[in-house]
């Protein structure tokens, strides 16, 4: 068996609520693994702790107990090896699109010329050729999120962590972003942990879905998604898709 890219065993996480002087448990005994080249979705109702889970993988939050390991090393803080795409684009408003994409490359010591080259290639790949000199405020929400996606992808992360990246977009833009992500994934087989509350999105994109319970969040079921790749949005109309969808919905609602 291949060695897991990222694995988490038996982690608990609580937040202290100063107002009520109690501690709120958000994650309970989470075990999780992802293999190289795998696309895994974490699906759960809002408030179940799935974003907290992602923050732990990203190194933004510490665990109370348990282990989180990426490529054999304990996760102790944020790293470009585990690049994140947030729910909102979180671009630097004082940098233009190209500079935003090159920001991470600069931090890891890439030469400026190579960084510029890479930025142009990725801009082209997501259909934003010619927008390099625009500022984030001049772009639509969907375009900003595409920039946010490639600013992380360009770093060649070992695992890409995506925290409900399309949830804030309108339905049409969301479809086109999902389509784009499927295409990109076909080309580079990036290892991705994808947080979502949208069952269709999880089914369409992932190889495997981990369903989380309400708080305290536990992984209550793992489902392998059997659909052939390459996939397109039209998959959502198929009968198998609907059957699996209602099965998952049933699980979520119990």
């Amino acid at each position: 068996m291949r060695k897991a890219k990222l694995s988490v065993s038996d982690i608990n996480k609580s937040f202290y609520m100063p107002g009520e002087n109690i501690s709120l448990q958000v994650l309970e005994k989470i075990d999780f693994e992802i293999q190289e080249g795998e696309f895994v979705s974490i699906l759960g109702p809002s408030g179940c702790g799935k974003s907290t889970f992602l923050n732990i993988l990203a190194g933004f939050e510490n665990v109370d107990c348990g282990n989180a390991v990426c490529c054999g090393e304990s996760i102790t803080g944020p790293s470009p090896e585990r690049a994140v795409v947030f729910q909102s684009p979180v671009l630097f408003p004082w940098l233009d699109v190209k500079e935003n994409i090159m920001y991470g490359l600069k931090q890891v010591g890439k030469r400026k010329k190579d960084a510029e080259q890479l930025a142009s290639e990725y801009l082209k790949a997501v259909g934003l050729e010619g927008f390099g000199n625009y500022y984030p405020s001049q772009l639509s929400g969907g375009m900003q999120q595409r920039v946010s996606l490639i600013r992380s992808l360009v770093l060649g992360p070992k695992v890409l962590l995506m925290d409900e990246p399309f949830a804030a977009l309108d339905a049409q833009t969301r479809y086109s972003m999902q389509q784009l992500l499927l295409q990109l994934w076909e080309n580079n087989r990036q290892t991705i942990v994808f947080i979502t509350h949208d069952v269709e999105e999880a089914l369409l994109l992932s190889d495997r879905i981990c369903i989380m319970s309400r708080r305290p969040g536990r992984i209550i079921e793992e489902i392998s998604v059997p659909f052939e790749r390459p996939r397109t949005i039209s998959l959502a109309g198929s009968e198998d898709f609907s059957i699996l969808k209602s099965r998952i919905l049933g699980k979520l609602l119990t």
Partner: protein, 264 residues
């Protein structure tokens, strides 16, 4: 929409034009004696003479450049000193709890005393003139610079900091490439307030006795009973204050640092 703006702009001219007309009429027939309020025409002649010594109207004819350089030099030095100390301290206290708790109480304690209240002490410490003026300018402009830099640095969106970290930036790089640029809109507001105060305290300092400077000319002209020169100096100070503000704002705009802080 454009029509609407035009109307509003016209509205802005009504008051100054009225005042100017009243001024002009009042001085035209010597209804107000010239030693209290000179006519607009006399004022313009005096100003031109002050600049290029065209008529030799006053003892200051042709001296605009000398006095302006003295005054601008003091503002640049005093304000520069305040910014050089206020910005780093402000950024630090906005981000580091220990810096904030060590600095803030003292800074705010000193801030309570109005800048003018420091004048007598400054004269005892630094003597009348140059050093006192620089001290007053630096002291007065330090506070808004410090407070606004701290405010800007402390309210940087945590998401931007997270983004910087996961993209591989070290703590130091986060400070220089995320915190400082994101704090800029507030910081520049503080710098502009500080610069405005610099001009105010320049005049205060110069009134106490320096040989060159627009404030010195005002005080000197008062003793000679030359109201034109007082008013002309006031106009130039206002003009320089406005120009310096535009230069400050313009340079930060050019550096692209006023893009607005990140909004979620």
């Amino acid at each position: 929409m454009y029509k609407h703006i035009d109307k509003l702009e016209i509205a802005g001219f009504i008051l100054p034009v009225t005042l100017f007309t009243v001024w002009y009429v009042a001085t035209m027939e010597d209804a107000v004696p010239a030693y209290l309020l000179p006519s607009p025409w006399d004022l313009i002649r005096t100003a031109i003479d002050f600049a290029i010594a065209s008529e030799g109207l006053t003892p200051y004819s042709g001296e605009l450049l000398v006095h302006s350089i003295a005054s601008i030099g003091r503002v640049v030095t005093g304000f520069g000193l305040a910014a050089a100390i206020g910005l780093p301290l402000g950024f630090l206290s906005g981000r580091i709890a220990l810096a904030k708790s060590s600095l803030d109480p003292t800074v705010h304690l000193i801030r309570i005393v109005p800048g003018i209240g420091w004048l007598p002490l400054a004269m005892v410490w630094f003597g009348v003139g140059e050093s006192t003026t620089l001290f007053l300018i630096s002291l007065a402009s330090f506070f808004p610079i410090y407070v606004n830099a701290a405010q800007g640095a402390s309210s940087v969106s945590p998401m931007l900091v997270r983004a910087g970290r996961m993209l591989g930036a070290s703590e130091l790089r986060i400070f220089t490439t995320v915190i400082i640029p994101a704090a800029m809109p507030s910081t520049v507001a503080g710098l502009r307030l500080g610069l405005g105060l610099s001009w105010a305290y320049l005049v205060l300092g110069e009134l106490t006795g320096v040989t060159h400077g627009l404030g010195a000319v005002m005080m000197d002209a008062r003793m000679l009973g030359n109201v034109e020169m007082i008013l002309v100096s006031m106009i130039f100070i206002g003009l320089f204050g406005r120009i310096s503000d535009l230069l400050l704002l313009g340079s930060f705009r050019r550096l692209n640092l006023l893009k607005g802080s990140y909004e979620e």
